[in-house]
Symmetry: C2
Subunit: 902 residues, 2 copies
């Protein structure tokens, strides 16, 4: 049977999985010889076992008894001794810090019998009764589940009776009275007596800490922070030390350097005659840590020493908690300190400059999440703007603009220089122009995986989705939020990071880092901030270290140019569907309605120059870099007129006694024919090539002719063509032959050499499972992880989020949506199979990913691990991908272990 | 480089893959010392290489030259020798017989120069010119692609000029004239001269045979016969022998025993002074083979000897082709003979009785496809009923009845004893009652995987789908077929085997084998036919041999009872969705619309007795056998009222100035909320359990209470519960805990012991990929191969068939629909992974399949191979599954090799 309890002397900082962060670090400090109160740790494994089985693990009680015996021996006091009681705290401590999310009970060991002993030993009746009061209050709330209001109310009553508003005015007698009241409250609310047996107090507190792992707030916090749900918490049982035994006692928190700037030098707060919870409660004002030098020079000197020791030992900024009990300094906690994203970059580089760590380790100390935070526009100051509602924080950043309700208006107003926010029930591909024109998007329906959210994140635009309290009155048009009505053109501000929506304008601040990425801010310029220098330095280092290429998903010359500025090494996914939207719909309709070969040929011919023009622009923007163009993927009906509109036109004609337009009649028939029950799994992708003769040939010709034209204009062009939704090698081979013939024909016509690589998306399980054969025929694989996730899980993104994802998060079926972070066991396994078998069949095969996961930090590490050649992500996420690819390389090289602090 | 040409002396009958069936058997006969004209075979590999690369394989010409040289030496004649030309035939010959589907050219070697030599050697000018005429005609059509009509027309012209209608009246001069005309036709239509170089004739003919592998009719035939598209054909080059050199010559076909009854004794036809093609053309009447004894006693005796030799050698009925050239017998072909399904069973048992083969081998000689054919009702005689149209043959068998256009009418008329055929545009789950009531189904839309087709096949009912020429006039209602109008109640006959639809009644015949399966015909009775005895004997043997269990998919007590009679060893899939249809919809709506817990509880409570009643009936029918009940799977909106109807009611109320019914308003909101873009991948299966509290608990309670009630009535009950659409082990574990708690509760209430196994469908790729974890928690896996195929391929069955399956068959992306026969490379690989990893994690795990593939013969062999414990299929297919499971066991045991003859 595994050991379930560790003494502080038995642990170390690398045992966080088993001992939690707090326990592992207390053990580390103990072994460094620092003054830590003695104690022991119940492991996370004990917690997991308890939560799994609903029963206290066998043997735990005996192990605890043994460690308690040793603790009592070390302290020379017995738990619950009426004459001189040992008191202990029972504290949670998970692998990853979850501040305030779980439970703590102090002063365990006090009882009606021993409170007198504590009074005698401490020399303070008041202290003893206040400690007992605190115990019953914490125990009642935490262990017995009594509403904290009841206790607060009793204290308020006592103060009113005394005619004071200050706790400190309550004397020992008052507190004794409160203790009696508290005990009655326990009896009434919990239906049992407050336990007088100190060991029972301790055991019950331990189980309460175990259970607090699954409190609602803890679950919520883990989901937000992407902490796995199955880790469990350790429990630390520590001899109590008291900062509230007089003015020679006190408690404080400190950082070993400034967590905002990273500058060396202490930084903290101290409070005399207080316990830690008093600092947190903010009842009295703290003093700067420097003032401690005046109050207790010896302790101050010792603390400075300890902090230096810790920084040298952890080679990073640490935060600490300490208590001084009658002039004796005790260390209660340390850990590698949390910091702001900006400070993370600054501190990492400063530690390099100080010679504490090298650049590899510095890179491992920052993250893509940090960098993302730095890139969003922010509201610059608090404002008195009225909050209208809070929706789902679908794409982070802040935006301010005029409300518009349709794409056309968005484009029109934006062209006249106005910042607009597109407000829709939900968006469709037709709203793309509007989203492009807008500075932000607000929808009343949908969640983080809705169309609006996905597109906005792709563009790095703020988006709030699912703001269900808002009503769009189409007749106005206007936006109604309770009593507030905002007409078209009215100003609102949205915060995609929090989901908040405000009436009116809140000043915005574009972070200078975006100017740096855009190349308008020189990272080495004299006025450049430390932050930009640090980001630049670490990104440069990431670029040096990373094995993974970073490409971008971009459909237009503008996006391509931005991707390039942000550091993309090519376009990994250039979608062609937008090239069939807008005014070009009419041409697609001609194609679909063509009855004869000449009609079809004419429709295709009309599309050719438009497609060619699209591609020339992208090739010019990506001079010298590869551009991967995907053949048309979505079902054709997405490009046709709206069913209802056509029906309405036909009805109107009939009502007017006229024959309906022949084209409308044919269109309606086509819409009917093309209607699909499950369009995601219908006639799309490579299948279109078998059903619409000439479609892929047209697109290929456009690519080939565009390549020749761009080359004529002096550019180096590296086109690649990608076939979507392939399930069998035969589909791919037939399509490949068709494409190759067109390319050869164009090459012949132009007299030019024309090499275009032809590869396939791997986005169906069957493609991954037969990658050995497909790989032998393809030049490259690009994993379409969005569709691959949909089919592997049998989940339609369009449907599931609102329908049952909330229930799934609650039940902890998964902690992160598989559409955000790659599902390693399922989708990831298919990727591994395809990479292994594809490259075995064809050692020259290039493998990459172009699904949304390509820009997700966690997923990037997985892609590196399985040996992909590149990730392709939205332009906005290119720097994040560069950074994470570098971090992954460094970690995989084993140069430093992953920084496990969160 | 692989050898591309084999002499007959180098091959044998086991080399069919390489030499094709014809070539391998010619080689076998050659080596048996039978009189086979000398020749050689170009391999299928050469064909495949040619088709793949579009160029003649390197080295082929040299190998052919070498073998031709040997052939000339053996025959003592040179190809194209003007004095005494060697003539050869160039014949196709694939691994599996594809009669008439590919090309043959006879008399290669004749030219303007050598025709005279042939005349001299044969002593017949007319024979020589007729042979040359035949060459140019076959070569023109086959090699040069000239329309055969042109040649026929020229012959007709010549006969008209001569004033005769009989070919035999044309003399040598006439035929010489026709040859000249033919050569002109070649020049005009092919733009080249008829090649005079005999080697060029031969080489071109070989390539034409290669190419004929991909002729439209060959592709179509292969698809129907499920012959793989990538085998290619061999080419046989054989010295010509002539049956048309006078009355001492002739040609014939024969079977070594009667292919209808299996009785020993020759059976064949003979035609004097003729070539094989004349027999096929049916220009002159053949005589029974026995008459040959009178015509040429020596040859007849030799032929009888040879046929005995062949039967002894092949240990099976053989068919042969032979030619007698001036009294000399030549064997031109043999193969294991095709036979009717009934004869297959009879012959197999007769060969056992004769001691030629054992029962294992007999079992391998029949197939599930044969047995299926025997089970369908048939039109008993040809009839003069008018054929209205031919649709898609979606579910085989014949049916006669009154036309009805809706389920309610179908049920009403059926209840009054009338046979009805349900005619719909397409069917939905709501038509289930109508399909059950009808004797057959006819739809104007959809194909073999449409709802109507799938359900009808499941029930073993005839169904014709996609009869697009028929118009349903809803106003009548009536069925319009061109000029014919059939009112409701009018009689039609449908043939689901051919797809034909007739007006009026054609007499039907229920095959007695169905009476045997239903237990009303004693297989050992004195009047029982040989056929039934043979089927019974082989099925009994299959049951003895098979490792695979055979269970049935059945939802009602009636289906369960039938399945049991047909030999099912339990119910592998009892769907519960029909239990929520019909009158119970109102209860489901109550459940969906419940706003409060009491409302929901009440709705569930109302469903409980109904569900319980359903299960009691099934348990009683399956006394002693396992019954696997699947929890509710389809999306809830399938059970709600029709969207359009609710909208109409609301509109009507508004139009009348009334407030719409509150329930309708809520219903519309629910329909809106539950609408899904891709319902296949939405809120269904196990996901429902997370979103509709109490639903699965209700179903589980109904199962548990029904089990206890059935047991109280004296039955042995073996219930199992199956959770659908699981993707993660967590979903399964949470659901399993919920179910186990309900079962324990019911057991406690009833004071009974209650063991119910709980398992899961494996129907998502992710479930298969994580089967190691899921298997550890489950009692059984049941592969839902329908959904697993949909998700693995990203194909929605509802959408794809009409949309692009025809194009995919044409392009040979696949030869059999993956929804009919399991896709081994993709879906099959997932099944292998899940079986291996699931059983490794849990050696007690039971694994089976309940998708439609469970009744498909090819797929059953795969399921046996991967180690499934059972297949579950529709009751109607249970005997087929038993037979195929037995065949698979025998084949896998290596007792006999698979009978490769098709």
């Amino acid at each position: 049977m595994a050991k379930l309890v560790y003494d502080f002397t038995e642990g170390n900082k690398d045992l966080k999985d088993l001992l939690g962060g707090k326990g592992a670090n207390l053990a580390e400090m103990t072994n460094l010889g620092l003054p830590v109160p003695p104690g022991f740790i119940i492991t996370t494994e004990a917690c997991r076992q308890y939560l799994r089985e609903g029963a206290v693990p066998a043997g735990l009680a005996d192990e605890v008894s043994e460690h308690l015996r040793q603790l009592e021996k070390k302290m020379g006091r017995q738990l619950g001794d009426p004459a001189d009681p040992l008191l202990v705290s029972v504290r949670s401590g998970a692998k990853f810090s979850m501040p305030g999310m779980m439970e703590t009970v102090l002063n365990i060991g006090l009882s009606d019998e021993s409170v007198g002993g504590l009074a005698k030993q401490s020399g303070s009746e008041r202290f003893a009764w206040d400690s007992y009061r605190r115990l019953i209050q914490m125990f009642g709330k935490t262990v017995l589940g009594i509403d904290g209001e009841a206790f607060e109310h009793a204290i308020e009553e006592a103060k009113r009776a005394k005619g004071t508003k200050n706790d400190l005015d309550l004397d020992a007698g008052d507190l004794h009275g409160i203790v009696e009241t508290f005990k009655e409250l326990v009896q009434v609310h919990a239906g049992r007596e407050f336990p007088q047996d100190p060991r029972e107090q301790m055991d019950l507190a331990v189980l309460a800490v175990f259970r607090s792992w699954n409190a609602d707030r803890a679950i919520l916090y883990r989901r937000q922070e992407r902490i796995p749900a199955d880790l469990g918490t350790a429990v630390n049982i520590v001899a109590m030390v008291f900062g509230n035994l007089g003015m020679d006692s006190g408690t404080g928190v400190a950082f070993t350097r400034d967590p905002g700037s990273g500058q060396q030098g202490v930084y903290g707060d101290y409070l005399q005659n207080a316990q830690g919870e008093d600092v947190v409660a903010g009842i009295r004002n703290t003093v700067p840590l420097q003032d401690l030098e005046q109050i207790d020079a010896a302790s101050y000197a010792q603390l400075m020493d300890i902090m230096q020791t810790l920084e040298n030992h952890y080679r990073d900024l640490c935060d600490i908690e300490f208590t001084i009990e009658r002039g004796k300094l005790w260390m209660l906690q340390t850990r590698v300190g949390k910091r702001t994203p900006a400070a993370a970059f600054r501190i990492a580089c400063q530690l390099v400059d100080e010679g504490v760590i090298d650049l590899d380790e510095a890179l491992s100390r920052v993250s893509g999440h940090d960098l993302t935070q730095l890139m969003f526009p922010q509201f610059s100051v608090d404002s008195d703007a009225a909050r209208l509602t809070t929706g789902i924080n679908a794409s982070p950043g802040a935006a301010v603009g005029a409300v518009v309700f349709d794409s056309a208006t968005a484009v029109r107003r934006a062209e006249s220089g106005e910042a607009v926010i597109l407000v829709r029930h939900e968006t469709t591909p037709d709203d793309l122009a509007g989203i492009v024109a807008a500075v932000g998007v607000l929808t009343t329906r949908g969640g983080k995986t809705a169309h609006a959210a996905v597109v906005a994140r792709g563009m790095g635009k703020p988006c709030v989705c699912g703001a269900e309290e808002l009503v769009i009155d189409e007749d106005g048009p206007r936006l109604i939020a309770g009593a507030t009505v905002i007409e078209e053109g009215g100003q609102i501000s949205i915060d995609g990071t929090s989901g908040a929506v405000f009436e009116g304008r809140i000043p915005l601040q574009q972070p200078p880092i975006v100017d740096y990425f855009n190349g308008v801010l020189d990272p080495d310029g004299p006025d450049t901030s430390d932050l930009i220098r640090a980001v630049h330095r670490l990104l440069q280092h990431a670029d040096e270290r990373r094995r993974l290429g970073v490409l971008a998903n971009a459909d237009t010359p503008e996006d391509a140019a931005r991707a390039r500025r942000y550091g993309a090494q090519g376009i990994g996914l250039c979608r062609t569907e937008h090239m069939f939207l807008g005014e070009r719909r009419a041409l697609v309709e001609r194609l679909v309605l063509a009855d004869t070969v000449p009609e079809r040929t004419a429709a295709l011919a009309a599309l050719l120059p438009l497609q060619r023009g699209d591609f020339i622009g992208v090739f010019e923007a990506m001079d010298g870099l590869p551009v991967t163009i995907r053949l048309l993927d979505p079902p054709l009906h997405e490009f046709l007129s709206d069913d209802a509109e056509v029906t309405a036109r036909i009805s109107a004609a009939k009502a007017a006694g006229l024959a309906p337009d022949d084209r409308d009649v044919k269109l309606l028939a086509a819409l009917d024919r093309l209607h699909e029950v499950n369009p995601m799994m219908g006639l799309r992708g490579v299948r279109l090539g078998f059903v619409v003769p000439g479609l892929f040939a047209l697109q290929t010709r456009a690519v080939a002719e565009a390549a020749i034209e761009a080359r004529r204009r002096g550019h180096v062009v590296r086109p690649e063509i990608m076939v979507p939704l392939v399930a069998t090698v035969t589909e791919f081979e037939i399509t490949r032959r068709e494409l190759a013939a067109v390319i050869a024909q164009v090459a012949k016509e132009s007299g030019a050499d024309l090499a275009i690589r032809i590869g396939t998306m791997i986005e169906l399980p069957r493609a991954a499972l037969t990658a050995g054969s497909i790989g032998a025929s393809a030049d490259f694989f690009s994993f379409g992880t969005n569709d691959l996730t949909q089919t592997t899980w049998g989940l339609s993104r369009d449907d599931v989020e609102g329908a049952f994802f909330p229930a799934y998060f609650k039940a902890r079926v998964f902690d992160a949506s598989p559409f955000e972070t790659i599902d390693r066991a399922g989708v990831g396994r298919l990727i591994r199979i395809a990479v292994d078998e594809g490259t075995r069949a064809n050692p020259l095969l290039t493998v990459g990913v172009c699904g949304e996961h390509g820009g997700d930090p966690d997923s990037i590490h997985f892609f590196d691990e399985v040996g992909l050649d590149y990730v392709s992500c939205s332009p906005f996420r290119v720097p994040v991908a560069r950074l994470e690819a570098g971090r992954s390389a460094v970690q995989r090289a084993g140069i430093v272990r992953a920084n496990e602090t969160r």
